[in-house]
Amino acid sequence: MGDPTGFMKYQRQDFLHEPPQMRIKHFREFIQMLSEEDAKKQGARCMDCGIPFCHWGCPISNLIPEWNDLVYKGQWEEAYERLSATNNFPEITGRVCPAPCEHSCVCSINQPAVTIKNIELMIVERAYKNGIIGPCPPKFRTGKKVAVVGSGPAGLACADQLNKAGHEVVVFEKKEIAGGILTLGIPDYKLEKWVVERRIEWMQEEGVVFKTGVHIGRDIKVKDIQKKYDALVLAGGAEVARDLNVPGRELKGIYQAMEYLPQQNRANRGQRIDSKLRISAEGKHVVILGGGDSGADCVGTANRQGALSIKQFELLPCPPEERRPDNPWPQWAFTQKISASHEEGCERDYCILTKSLSGKSGKINKLHAVRLEYAEKDPETTRQSSCEIKGSEFEVKCDLLLLAMGFLGPVKEGMIEELGVDLDAQGNVKTHDNYMTSIDGVFAAGDMRKGQSLVVWAIQEGRSAAQSIHHWLMS
């Protein structure tokens, strides 16, 4: 630790953001990284804790205090070495991770946390800029072949690790481009696609083969894959979105977030979208159901498309501003989070249950809802029962309804059904501790195994699965 009193001397300094009114005019990234001098100060705020709770809170166990210190000392190259030792894609987590590390940062007990995520991004982007990193194919090959299905963060991390260990890896992606949620799910203004492409190209140069537009279980039988490869990794994500079962659901103008967001990303890439199929918020009253990250992404996208108004409704109560006593540090803080998208303008409302949808000529124009009242948490089950508040019914204008209410698990038709792997109670693919499914040689990782989660968790899953697979292949 270079400066033991850094946290007392310096304030937290976040990246500068382009002002909302400016940035909603485009889909580009709007952050401005810190100068080297300022970055050092932010690194100096890290206290090099005896127990680095951040490192514990980070799903991929990033060596946060170590690289913070190296940044403070200006040893960016060594910092990158530490960072890349645990994280395959710091340029991605550095942009999109909700940073559980910062929630468990010791500094955050009574002061703003260290800007861990920003430092991470600066380390990796600087490394790219200075050209100190680049493709480095393995020195030898083991002769083992592994197929990875799905090119989202879990599949990519798994493929990257396996390739580094000398195995031949082929990644199958059903979409036309690789990257899964990173490419098609996350809006460009949060993660510009060149970032993902840069990484995928790098992986290709190191020997990973990407086969896009190949839908395993439909285009190719899984059996054939199993025959050709020594191991198979299922990393297809949790793509089944939760739907809204209320009267009026059949109306037009209602979309899942994962229909809406990818289209805009494709459009940004320059792909032509049939105007009839185009989902745009332009000039519309938009309602988004679901208060999570996807919901926020819809807000940002709708703003950029020129929505007239945006409302984001959440079924659950508004989280508190401060941590509740039963949600102490170093746990993830269940507090209200104001994302950059929210700064760009939207009305957020809570405890709202959608009762029905109505419209004109088959197109939605109203959403009817009621307010809920929640009881105290049951200490045993920790559940909170709710009831509708009489007389609180209301309706709002709604020309475009976006559903961002979470995911129910992996798609079963096709690959999973064909394989016949065991599923867990939640409908996810069940594995042993070593990530192997009920079928020998078939592994699973990421949301497909764990259910809907964060990108950083997906990376963790991919890495851990790769380690198990390597061990299994080599023994």
Binding site: T5, G50, I51, C107, I109, K139, T142, A165
Partner: protein, 1512 residues
């Protein structure tokens, strides 16, 4: 040892751990005239030293006492008729004092051997005399063990005295060997003395019983011109007649810390012993040392050899216990030559020692280099001398006294009865230093290598192999950052905080270096640790390589040696050595490797090969063996260097080849201080850590450090850090020189099985078994595999380590984010479920074992319902919080703990930083912030009578878990106004806690301190805090005999303060071991029922409490856990004052973040107690009392199958001696402190009017050395009534005449004036808080007081205020840690004003060496007309300047005027009369830091003054 009265080795008890210490002395009629009066006087001295001895379980059984006198020829002649034979003339017959077995048949057998050998040696055994004894005087235990005491008379057959003496020695050694071999009588046969000039009367008794028991002594014809006396205090209460002293040539008050090494070295010298005086007989006396004797007895054995080998007695004694003579020590060149020459011959028998020695015509005494035992003497005008551990042991008419003095550190005094004169230190030493041209011999033969230790050479890192090497030798990122980084940057050892909570090496799943299976040992109580920083001048890392040859000869060739300043060889040094083309120093390099992936067998073979190769190369003439792991071929795994070194060392010792050989280790594995200490401690002569040098070079070249430094500087710093660390490791064991540390094996192994220990580390204790060679090989192979593993991409990072900071892939910790957050949540929300989860995480170690107790299991017993178990409230009263000073933790945190503990009836601990008087007053809401336990630590900060009377317990901290044997320091910038106030010091001035208590150098000293404390506050119990290590049980037994009410056994792993990392990790052992050993040893000694036991050290749960109770603890201490409850998140940055949660910081901004509350702490303790209740119900025991010591309810969890723990065996921990059945397992009665009869009882009675009405009182009393701690109890009464303010000056004036006992005026309060006409012993004015003490010689005495020592050592230790006037000189360490007293004396010994932080000292005479060491505050004025002060001061922290300031001169003069007024000092008178001439000879000793702080204050004052004129 068979048939001994010591219990045999059992459980954790080991008889080898026994310690003793004592009162010692000699007296002589200088003209050699024999008289019975000398004998009578010797008995009187013994009686006066009675309080320095101890009694066991029955008050009459003493630990041993005796006298050594000249053969009372006249007395024996008077017996001739009854003897039935006539004696040859004096000195032509030998007398043996023999302890025979009581059984007649055995006795006969012994006698016939004796007769046979005597005849064989050409002498004739004249006959026997049964010594008349009266054993009614003895205690029961002593009587049971009483031998049959018979004198044997041997006709000298006309041999001359010296030759006869040697013959008798040869006879005795043979008889001893043969009797033991044939009859295995063990201790039951013992020859106390066999000589033609002296005889010893001794036994297991108290001093006053000696003349009662030995009827001879009272006979008027029983005459001698000299006597050596000894009163023993041992840690045990087992009857042993043979361990009573004096021995044949000496009586020893002290302790040999380096015994193991000394024994080994002597053993390896035996082969080369030869002397024309012995001729072939030399073989008959082997082995030289009877290892069943005590350390003192072993020393006597060697002294005997040297003397009979033809060296003079004083010469021999100086060889074995040399004074300090290093470059920093002021000493003449011839003398330095003498000591350097002899240090190449033999290593010091190092440790505190006052030794009285005699051969019947010469008698004398000497002190060790540190002068840690008192030795006071008086010489009378009528030609008599007495020297003893105390003064005042004999009464002399004042006018008869010629001189009063004391031996100073390293000094010798000699009385030659034939020359009829006393020779002082200088004369004796000069005589021997010039007996041979030692200085020239050394200069001419010493080998210096060109460039040796000049500039450190470059090390060239091999970038390509760097990572490979790191892996092969088990480096981690943490090693680089936490260990090597700071060493290279700062040249000092890294510091950390908050103890350790990682598994012991044997429990760790990560491959461990062999070093980590060893823990450093440290001195506690029986000898003091040394301060390696402030007292560096007595320490030495110098070491020699080469062949010292036969120690019975003296030739120039003996100094043909390579001299190394320290034992760390740079790469270049080693290269030069290898190229050295001198016949005596041929080198050979042996590789430390075994076949890769080989099992333990392969490793064993490789070691055997290595040993044989070493032996062969020595036989071939090589004298430097380099064991190397450099450039090992690919098919070899490195052998752990420690294993290789120790194996070769032991092998060469066994072959008698070691002493001439330099054993150098060239290793990449060793890097930390702990590693170096182990390699040297197990026999290496020097170490070349070549790879660590490369790392240093690499880090500096890559700028990987926090600062930018050159490669050379990096390596230099690293070496410096190692050397400093080594000095510290040695000093904590009280060892001064590396030459005696080498091979001393002062380590304890944890987790190594007895096969490995016996074969390679013989003599090391390892008490729970553990891994063997197979596992050691497996761990080495794991590193090998990691290094040679092929990876497809560029290698990943080095492993994290995680020993010091948590890493997910690193070493396991018990404090984790989960446990900390669960505990914090549980205690804040009072959530029992969350507590349960927390406790489960800690307790369930079935798979991941972190602690020894994690592998314990409760036996299945009949359970009882929970309701039947005593309530949690009762159990909570047994809980205490750890000693954390206000200064180390914030005021808020400190007071939270106090309030919480006071509410639940437990106790909190003030720590060593004193306590604000405000806190003694209860709060409005009924809470109290007063810490029930007040700690008395080595710094004695704020320890006043008021502080002590506000305590329920007074705790003497001997050691602390995080850094046993080390001192501490609170840097000036942390000493805020608040802290300074409670510590009675000045803000901004650094406060140093010395490593030892300077009033506890021995076991009898702690008895004295306990007595002192008990006097000040008789209502408080006195406890003693020890740290777990092998032998702590015997220490505890000694402490129990010293009347402690409670003994705290701390685990090594606890500790909240800042400490060097190597101390936190590698010193001391877990409390499970220390506690069980203590319980077992106290039980064996029948001492358990009179003392309570407490355990602490990383206690976290109710299960920990139950296990501690089962192993013997009545009370339980917690420190880290309550801090976590108060918000601590284990930042481990306490030492940086940056605690982000306001717990361990003084920063007002950070303290605002403090969020702890007493309620949380109470919740914590209640949940702990409730958890404990659950276990009690399960065990079927309703009361905690019935749980204590029930180790039979524990067993080992055999289900654990981790490969390293399979070999562990806890049976010694669970052991219960059979005789324990039905005996109390816990404290059942109170100690008898013996404070009912102190002089103070009378003083208090006589002071009634003063105490009650503040009316002046005058008292006159005689005083003797047996009146201990005079004034303390009276002061306690004053403090209780009037608080810190005390009474008005001179309210109670006590006038004493005589020699005061120890601790005269200790802790005396304001309002008290003590006038002592006579002299005083040690510790006068200790902890003085306001009183005035005046000491002057009796009116009638006419010796020049200012040249005589009239007060002892360690005066005014930790004193806070008051005035002292002493007409005369005083001993060592005057005004040590004084923080406020104004004192005038006429000369001081060594280390004067050490660690002083405040007050004024006026010295009207000269000072000893190392004056003002560590002095950070206060001012000393020294009258130094000969300008010697400069060379004798330690100038690290002070400036010397003339007294130019008028105010200063006024102050000096007025104090001298007062001195004259009070004492009528002639010296004062002279100075005052010649004031203008004398003033320029005064030197002002001004601490730099103090000056800075004062300067700041003055500026502020000045500003105020400057403002004033404007208002005119």
């Amino acid at each position: 040892m068979q048939n001994t009265f010591f219990p045999k080795k059992q459980g954790l008890y080991h008889p080898g751990q026994e310690h003793d210490s004592c009162g010692v002395g000699f007296l002589a009629q200088i003209d050699g005239k024999k008289s019975h009066a000398v004998v009578e006087k010797s008995i009187e001295v013994l009686k006066k030293l009675l309080h320095r001895g101890a009694t066991g379980e029955d008050a009459l059984t003493g630990d041993g006492a005796g006298i050594l006198i000249q053969i009372p020829d006249e007395f024996f002649r008077a017996q001739e008729r009854s003897l039935g034979f006539s004696l040859p003339e004096f000195s032509n017959y030998g007398v043996g004092m023999v302890f025979f077995p009581q059984e007649k048949a055995r006795r006969k057998q012994c006698q016939s051997i004796l007769e046979e050998i005597t005849a064989q040696e050409g002498l004739h055994l004249l006959g026997y005399r049964e010594v008349p004894v009266d054993n009614n005087a003895l205690g029961e235990k002593s009587r049971e063990a009483q031998p049959c005491i018979i004198q044997v008379f041997i006709d000298g057959k006309g041999f001359k005295k010296d030759i006869l003496e040697r013959k008798l020695y040869i006879v005795r050694r043979q008889v001893e060997n043969i009797v033991e071999e044939k009859l295995q009588t063990g201790d039951r046969f013992y020859i106390a003395s066999l000589s033609c000039s002296t005889v010893i009367y001794k036994g297991m008794m108290l001093g006053n019983q000696v003349p009662e028991f030995y009827l001879d002594i009272k006979d008027e014809k029983f005459m001698s011109a000299l006597a050596v006396i000894h009163q023993r205090y041992s840690t045990n209460t087992f009857p042993s007649w043979k361990l009573a002293q004096p021995f044949r040539y000496l009586a020893h008050n002290g302790e040999i810390n380096t015994l193991r090494g000394n024994l080994n070295q002597m053993h390896s010298r035996e082969k080369s012993l030869s002397s024309p005086l012995f001729g072939k007989d030399i073989q008959k006396i082997l082995p030289i040392i009877d290892e069943t004797g005590s350390d003192s007895a072993c020393l006597d054995n060697v002294l005997e050899l040297l003397v009979n080998g033809g060296r003079d007695l004083p010469h021999s004694a100086m060889m074995l216990i040399p004074q300090a003579w290093g470059t920093k020590y002021p000493i003449g060149l011839d003398l330095r030559g003498f000591f350097e020459y002899h240090s190449g011959l033999i290593e010091p028998w190092d440790g505190p020692a006052a030794v009285a020695f005699t051969n019947g015509t010469q008698i004398g005494a000497l002190l060790d280099r540190n002068g840690l035992r008192p030795a006071r003497y008086t010489i009378t005008k009528d030609g008599f001398i007495v020297l003893a551990s105390e003064t005042g042991v004999l009464d002399f008419a004042p006018e008869n006294v010629l001189e009063k003095g004391a031996l100073r550190p390293g000094e010798i005094i000699l009385v030659d009865l034939t020359k009829k004169r006393v020779m002082k230190n200088g004369e004796v030493k000069t005589f021997y230093a010039r007996k041979q041209p030692y200085r020239r011999w050394v200069e001419e033969n010493k080998i210096t290598l060109q460039g040796f230790f000049n500039d450190v050479a470059h090390a060239t890192p091999d970038a390509e192999k760097h990572l490979f090497m790191q892996k092969l030798f088990g480096y981690s990122r943490e090693d680089m950052k936490m260990i090597l980084g700071p060493m290279i940057e700062k040249g000092s050892e890294p510091v950390g905080s908050m103890g350790t909570d990682t598994p012991l090496a044997v429990l760790s799943e990560k491959p461990q270096l062999l070093y980590y299976y060893f823990k450093q040992m440290f001195a506690q109580i029986t000898n003091p640790a040394i301060d390696p920083l402030r007292e560096e001048l007595v320490m030495s890392l110098m070491t020699f390589m080469g062949n010292p040859g036969n120690i019975l000869e003296e030739t120039p060739h003996h100094s043909r040696l390579i001299k190394l300043r320290h034992p760390i060889l740079s790469n270049e040094d080693l290269e030069r050595l290898m190229l050295l083309n001198i016949k005596e120093f041929w080198t050979t390099t042996l590789q430390m490797g075994f076949s890769a992936y080989g099992s333990g067998d392969r490793l064993e073979e490789a070691l055997d090969r290595l040993c044989r190769a070493a032996e062969a190369s020595v036989s071939n003439g090589c004298s430097l063996i380099i064991l190397s792991d450099r450039k090992l071929p690919e098919d070899l795994t490195p052998i752990p260097a420690l294993l290789a070194v120790s194996a070769v060392n032991q092998h060469l010792i066994a072959r008698g080849l070691r002493s001439g050989v330099g054993l150098i280790v060239e290793t990449a594995e060793a890097r930390e201080v702990h590693h170096m200490a182990l390699l040297l401690g197990y026999g290496a002569t020097a170490v070349n850590p070549y790879f660590a040098f490369e790392i240093a070079a690499d880090m500096s070249m890559r700028n990987a450090l926090n600062i930018s430094i050159s490669t050379n500087k990096a390596i230099e710093n690293y070496i410096k850090a190692l050397c400093k660390g080594l000095l510290k490791v040695m000093s904590k064991m009280g060892i001064s020189t590396l030459r005696s540390y080498r091979g001393a094996q002062v380590f304890e192994a944890i987790g190594l099985n007895c096969d490995v220990i016996q074969k390679y580390f013989g003599g090391t204790s390892s008490r729970i078994e553990g891994i063997g060679l197979n596992e050691i090989a497996a761990e080495a192979n794991a590193r090998y595999q990691d290094a040679y593993k092929k990876e497809a991409t560029t290698p990943s990072l080095l492993i994290s380590g995680g020993q010091y900071g948590y890493r997910k892939d690193g070493e396991r910790h018990l404090w984790t984010p989960e446990t900390i957050s669960k505990l914090q949540y549980a205690t804040r929300a009072n959530d029992k479920k969350a507590y349960r989860e927390y406790a489960d995480l800690i307790n369930n170690q079935a798979e991941k074992i972190s602690t020894l107790r994690g592998m314990f299991k409760f036996k299945e017993t009949k359970s009882i319902p929970l309701e039947e178990v005593e309530p949690a409230e009762e159990i909570m009263k047994r809980f205490v919080t750890g000693a954390m000073s206000f200064g180390s933790i914030s005021k808020e945190a400190h007071e939270t703990l106090a309030i919480a503990m006071n509410r639940i009836g437990g106790m909190s601990n003030s720590g060593e930083g004193g306590e604000d008087s405000d806190r003694f007053i209860p709060m409005a809401n009924g809470d109290s912030r007063c810490s029930a336990i007040k700690q008395v630590a080595s710094g004695r900060f704020g320890v006043t009578a008021e502080y002590m009377v506000n305590a329920k317990e007074l705790q003497i901290k001997i050691a602390q878990g995080a850094k046993p044997g080390e001192g501490g320091q609170l840097p000036g910038h942390k000493v805020t106004e608040d802290i300074a106030r409670v510590r009675h010091s000045v803000p901004g001035v650094t406060l140093i806690s010395p490593p030892p208590h300077h009033d506890i150098y021995s076991i009898e000293d702690i008895k004295q301190l306990i007595f002192d404390l008990k006097n000040v506050n008789p209502a408080a119990r006195v406890s003693v805090k020890l740290v777990s290590e092998v032998g702590v049980g015997t220490i505890a037994a000694g402490v129990a005999k010293a009347h402690a009410d409670m003994i705290l056994i701390s685990g090594y792993d606890g500790g909240t303060g800042a400490s060097p990392l190597s101390s936190i990790k590698h010193t001391g052992v877990p409390w499970e071991l220390g506690l069980a050993e203590t319980q077992q040893t106290l039980m064996l000694n029948n001492l358990r029922d009179r003392v309570r036991i407490q355990a602490d050290g990383q206690m976290k749960t109710g299960r920990d409490v139950i296990i501690a109770a089962l192993l013997g603890a009545e009370e339980f201490g917690f420190a880290t856990a309550p801090l976590v409850v108060c918000g601590c998140v284990m930042m481990r940055k306490c030492h940086l004052n940056t605690c982000p949660v306001g717990v361990a910081t003084q920063d007002p901004e950070l303290r605002k973040f403090y969020s702890g509350k007493p309620e949380y702490v109470i919740n914590f303790f209640r949940m702990i107690a409730e958890e404990a209740r659950g276990y009690m119900a399960e065990l079927g025991i309703s009361k905690m009392d019935d749980l204590i010591g029930r180790s039979d309810l524990l067993e080992m969890n055999e289900a654990i199958n981790f490969f390293k723990v399979r070999g562990l065996d806890f049976s010694k921990i669970f052991y219960r001696a059979e005789k324990n059945e039905g005996v109390q397992l816990r404290c059942a009665k109170e100690q008898d402190h013996g404070i009912d009869k102190v002089l103070d009882k009378q003083l208090i009675e006589l002071s009634k009017n003063a105490l009650e009405n503040r009316k002046p009182v005058k008292i006159e009393k005689p005083i003797r050395n047996i009146n201990l701690t005079t004034g303390a109890m009276l002061s306690g009464e004053i403090a209780k009534r009037y608080g810190a303010v005390g009474l008005p000056e001179d309210t109670i004036t006590c006038h004493f005449q005589g020699a005061a006992g120890q601790s005269f005026g200790a802790f005396c309060m304001k309002g008290l004036t003590l006038i002592l006409e006579g002299e005083a012993n040690d510790y006068l004015g200790k902890g003085l808080c306001g009183a005035k003490i005046i000491v002057k010689p009796p009116e009638k005495s006419d010796f020049y007081a200012s040249r005589n020592i009239i007060c002892g050592n360690v005066l005014l230790y930790g004193a806070t205020s008051g005035e002292v006037y002493i007409r005369g000189r005083v001993g060592e360490r005057f005004a040590i840690r004084n923080s406020g007293v104004h004192a005038v004396v006429e000369g001081v010994g060594d280390h004067g004003c050490e660690y002083m932080t405040g007050g004024r000292v006026f010295i009207l005479g000269d000072t000893g060496v190392n004056f003002a060491a560590g002095m950070s505050g206060g001012i000393a004025y020294v009258y130094d007309p000969e300008s010697k002060l400069d060379s004798r001061s330690n100038l690290d922290m002070v400036d010397l300047e003339l007294v130019v300031d008028k105010a200063d001169a006024r102050e000096v003069k007025s104090m001298i005027e007062k001195h004259f007024q009070y004492t009528q000092s002639k010296k004062a008178k002279y100075i005052l009369e010649n004031w203008e001439n004398c003033l320029p000879s005064f030197v002002k000793v001004f601490p730099m830091e103090y000056r800075r702080v004062l300067g700041k204050m003055m500026k502020e004052d000045e500003e105020i003054e400057r403002e004033e004129p404007e208002f005119k």
